[in-house]
C-alpha cells in the first residue's frame, strides 16, 4: 500500500479544507496534506460561477472560482500538498490513519498527527422529500444541474419549475433564464424565503420569475420525460389544500430543498454527531469529540456564506496545527452551550475554558423576527448582548462572548427588543 506521512491531514479540498490548510501552514505545521476526491481543488465553488462571495472576508464581491482560486493558490504557494482523485474510505481517529483509494496510487494510507474533516455537504434529493408521481427523466437537484450547466456544458431543460427557495435554487433560476430557458415558478412550502433576500431580488425579480410561498409540489407527471407538476397551496400544518391544486406544464424540475452534512466517515469513526445539525459536535477550536480530530465548514453545520466557512475553518486549521505540534492551549474545564428562545442550534456546542479571552458562537434562529437582541447568559447573568435589526432562519447569527465571564453553561437566546 502507498503510504504518506504528514502533520495535518485535511479531508476535502473545498473552501473549508483549503482555508484550514492555509491556516495550519501559517501556524507553523510542517507537512499539510489535502485529500480531494475530485480532479481539482476548489470544491463546489468551482461551479458557483455567480458573484456574491467574499464580501465579508475579502471586502470585495467575487465569484466562486475567484474565491476558491485565491485560497487554492495561497495553499499551494505555502507548500500544502494535495492528493487529487483520492477518495477517503475510512479513518481511525486515535491512530490518525486515513485509508483512501486513489486512481493514481491505488490504496493509500495517510498517517497524520491531526486531522481536519472538511467534507462539506450534499443535496437532499427527491427520495429524501418523497414527492409522489411517476419517475421520469428531468428531475435534478439544483446543484447537479449547476454542475452540468456551468462545468460540463450540458443544458438540462427548457421549461423549468424549481422546488425550494434556497440560494442554489434561486441562482439556478437566473442561470437557466440567462441560458434561454423559461423558469415558470419557484415553489416554497414555508411562508418565508429559504435563501438570502438579495438572491430573490437579483435572480427572481430581475427575470420576472414568480415565487409561490406557502406552496408545494404534490405530484410529478410524465412518462419518459417530465411533462408537468401539480402545485398546491399548503395549510398551517404544511398539508396541501386539494382545491388549490394547479397543473404547471414543464419539462424539468429542479430541487433546492436543503443540504445534508456529509458525515458517513465521521459516523463510522464514532465521533459524536449533533442531531440538529447532523454534523460533529465541536468546541471553539472546532475539535470534535475525538481529540486531534477537527472539523469545519458545511460538514459541521450548513453555512449561509462561504466567508463564515473560511473563518471557522481557519480556526480548525490553526488548532489542528497546534495539536500536531503538541501546543494545544491548556484546559481548565468545559461547559456546554445551550439553545434558548428562537435558537435552533449553536456551534460550537462545547466551550473549553482555558486562557483565551473570547469565543464566537454561531447559530441559526427558528423563526424570522425583527428588532431583537441576541443575548448570552450564564445563569441569570447576561455576559454578552447585541442588537439585531432582523434575524432570519436562512442566515447565520453570531455572538461573541467574554470567556472570563463564563461560569456555568452558556445559554443563547433571541429576545424581542423592548
Amino acid at each position: 500500500m502507498y503510504e504518506v506521512k504528514c502533520d495535518v491531514a485535511i479531508i476535502g479540498g473545498g473552501p473549508a479544507g483549503l482555508s484550514a490548510a492555509v491556516a495550519a501552514k501559517k501556524e507553523g505545521a510542517k507537512d499539510v496534506l489535502v485529500i480531494e476526491r475530485d480532479n481539482s481543488i476548489g470544491g463546489i465553488l468551482q461551479q458557483c460561477i455567480h458573484p456574491g462571495f467574499g464580501l465579508s472576508y475579502f471586502k470585495k464581491e467575487l465569484t466562486g472560482p475567484e474565491y476558491a482560486g485565491r485560497f487554492a493558490e495561497e495553499a499551494l504557494n505555502l507548500g500544502v500538498d494535495v492528493l487529487l482523485n483520492t477518495m477517503v474510505l475510512d479513518f481511525a481517529p486515535e491512530r490518525k490513519e486515513i485509508i483512501c483509494a486513489s486512481s493514481e496510487n491505488g490504496m493509500t494510507k495517510v498517517t497524520a498527527k491531526s486531522i481536519v474533516l472538511a467534507m462539506g455537504c450534499r443535496e437532499r434529493t427527491r427520495p429524501n422529500i418523497q414527492i409522489p408521481g411517476t419517475r421520469p427523466a428531468g428531475v435534478y437537484t439544483a446543484g447537479s444541474a449547476q454542475r452540468l450547466v456551468n462545468r460540463q456544458n450540458t443544458m438540462v431543460g427548457k421549461n423549468v419549475v424549481i422546488l425550494g427557495s434556497g440560494d442554489i435554487g434561486m441562482i439556478m433560476a437566473r442561470r437557466m433564464s440567462l441560458e434561454g430557458a423559461k423558469v415558470l415558478a419557484v415553489v416554497e412550502i414555508m411562508d418565508y424565503l429559504a435563501g438570502l433576500t438579495r438572491n430573490k431580488v437579483q435572480c427572481l425579480d430581475d427575470f420576472g420569475i414568480p415565487l409561490k410561498l406557502g406552496h408545494t409540489i404534490t405530484r410529478i407527471v410524465g412518462n419518459e420525460r417530465v411533462e408537468g407538476v401539480y402545485v398546491a397551496q399548503v395549510d398551517e400544518n404544511k398539508k396541501p389544500i386539494k382545491e388549490t391544486e394547479e397543473f404547471i406544464e414543464c419539462d424539468t424540475l429542479l430541487l433546492s430543498v436543503g443540504l445534508l452534512p456529509e458525515n458517513e466517515l465521521t459516523r463510522k469513526a464514532e465521533i459524536s454527531i449533533s442531531r440538529i445539525t447532523n454534523g460533529p459536535e465541536v468546541d471553539q477550536y472546532m475539535q470534535t469529540s475525538s481529540p486531534g480530530v477537527f472539523a469545519s465548514g458545511n460538514v459541521v453545520h450548513v453555512n449561509d456564506l462561504v466567508d463564515n466557512v473560511t473563518v471557522e475553518s481557519m480556526q480548525a486549521g490553526k488548532y489542528a496545527a497546534l495539536y500536531a505540534m503538541d501546543k494545544m492551549p491548556g484546559e481548565v474545564r468545559e461547559v456546554t452551550s445551550l439553545t434558548g428562545n428562537n435558537v435552533r442550534y449553536l456551534c460550537p456546542q462545547r466551550l473549553r475554558i482555558g486562557n483565551e479571552e473570547k469565543a464566537k458562537l454561531f447559530f441559526r434562529v427558528l423563526q424570522p423576527d425583527a428588532n431583537v437582541r441576541l443575548v448570552a447568559k450564564c445563569g441569570d447573568e447576561v455576559i454578552a448582548s447585541v442588537k439585531e435589526k432582523r434575524v432570519n432562519p436562512g442566515e447565520i447569527c453570531c455572538i461573541q462572548i467574554p470567556m472570563d465571564k463564563v461560569g456555568d453553561d452558556v445559554l443563547v437566546e433571541v429576545v424581542k427588543e423592548a
Binding site: 460561477i49 465579508s56 464581491e61 472560482p65 482560486g69 460540463q152 438570502l196 437579483q202
Partner: protein, 118 residues
C-alpha cells in the same frame, strides 16, 4: 415616481425607498450604509448587474467561467449573453482575469476569466 428597492450590496437586505424622476433622485431613505445609498441611487436611475457565465474552450470538455469586469447595464444583459454563447477561447493557457471578450456589446466593459485553463 417612487420605488422600493431591496439593497443587494450585502446580505443585510435593507429596504431603500427612492423617489424622483428618471433623471434625478429627490429623496432616498432606508439605506444602512454609504454603499447602500450609492446602490439605491444607481438602481433607481440606471440599474446595472455583474454578469457571469461560461465560455467554451477549444479542445477541452470543461467550460471556462467568466464575468464582466464591471457591472453591465441591465438592458444589455441578454445581448451580452448571445455574444458569450458564441465565443470559444482558443489561446490557452488562460489565467484568472485574462480578457476573454473585450468591450462586450460596446459597453466599454470587458468579459474576463474567473477560472484558469492550463
Amino acid at each position: 415616481m417612487k420605488k422600493e428597492i431591496i439593497c443587494t450590496v450585502c446580505p443585510m437586505g435593507c429596504e431603500i425607498e427612492v423617489e424622483g424622476s428618471d433623471k434625478e433622485v429627490t429623496s432616498i431613505k432606508g439605506f444602512g450604509c454609504k454603499r447602500g445609498e450609492v446602490y439605491g441611487n444607481n438602481e433607481f436611475l440606471h440599474p446595472v448587474r455583474i454578469l457571469t457565465s461560461t465560455v467554451k474552450v477549444a479542445g477541452q470538455n470543461e467550460l471556462l467561467a467568466v464575468r464582466s469586469e464591471e457591472p453591465i447595464p441591465k438592458e444589455l444583459i441578454m445581448d451580452c449573453m448571445k455574444v458569450i454563447a458564441e465565443k470559444t477561447v482558443c489561446d490557452t493557457p488562460i489565467q484568472r482575469y485574462d480578457v476573454v471578450i473585450p468591450n462586450i456589446c460596446d459597453s466599454g466593459i470587458n468579459i474576463v476569466a474567473t477560472s484558469t485553463v492550463k
